[in-house]
Symmetry: C2
Subunit: 145 residues, 2 copies
DNA sequence: TCTATTTAGTTCGAATTTGAGATAATTATA
DNA sequence: TATAATTATCTCAAATTCGAACTAAATAGA
């Protein structure tokens, strides 16, 4: 198969894999009344600690207006709080609350187990190459855009 | 790094790569007045020929209500037509029109070149493993769900 | 210092997407 | 054959997402 053709096939496989996993996660997380985006925000705050709104947006790659929206939903649910930075009053830090942490502690193990089961069809070295190759490609995409 | 941890990292990299590419494609295709979903439908009809609505839905993994919606948009734009199957009157075949083909012939080379440039940071064997690994994972996900 | 530019986040309207529940046609079963 | 179950698609309301334009605050440059 020619190089160009392989790239296109890889892209199609990437899209399909992502979409299929997304559907699985959506179903799973819906039980807890969360959308995939809400979960992504909670997850990054849970693992990385308090972040500015902008950092959250860069992490999960959604429009900034969507970031405002999803954080508002999470505040309503009591899972995060938003605090203005005293030094730079344009920026806000978002942190997970105890209630948010409790939900994540309930969801996360099942979520992680599901993800792991998706990848358990790969050998160790395949998985490693997959991970590294994806990192290279996403860095490349960010560079080009 | 432990196996489980690598799976989670691979998943995060997958999501991030997909989202970044999606944003790039959206920008690119917007110039032609198409959404990413509309483009995906056109692309599959362009490369695979006429398909039923259900097959299109399975290919691009969106809700069936969304399939109805996006095909309606494409009909309005004159890029596809919908024809009822004479044998099974529940099913409809969707085909790309000449106008749709013309648009695809205009967009597709640039689109393909962009995709290829995203993957040109990988060696041939890395790309091959990436593609095959993604196929395995998406098959695995479909099996589990 | 004054003004221009940049940065962080929000508002708003329009477009898209979803899930739940129809409808209509086909197929399986009693 | 009559009825039940399945299949293909659609309708609808609600939720999400986006892009464009905005406000407010900080920083850079004259």
């Amino acid at each position: 198969m020619k190089r160009d053709e392989t790239s296109l096939k890889a892209f199609i496989a990437l899209k399909r894999t992502n979409d299929a996993i997304d559907i699985a996660i959506r179903k799973d997380i819906r039980k807890y009344g969360l959308s995939v985006t809400e979960f992504a925000v909670l997850e990054v705050l849970y693992t990385k600690g308090p972040l500015t709104i902008q950092t959250i947006r860069d992490r999960i790659l959604i429009a900034s207006s969507s970031t405002t929206y999803v954080i508002e939903r999470l505040i309503e649910k009591g899972y995060v709080i938003k605090e203005q930075d005293t030094k730079d009053r344009r920026t806000f830090y978002v942190s997970i609350t105890d209630a948010g942490r409790t939900v994540m502690e309930e969801i996360f193990p099942m979520h992680a187990a599901m993800i792991q089961s998706f990848f358990d069809c790969l050998e160790d070295d395949e998985l490693e190459i997959l991970k590294e190759a994806l990192k290279k490609v996403s860095a490349r995409v960010s560079n080009i855009i």
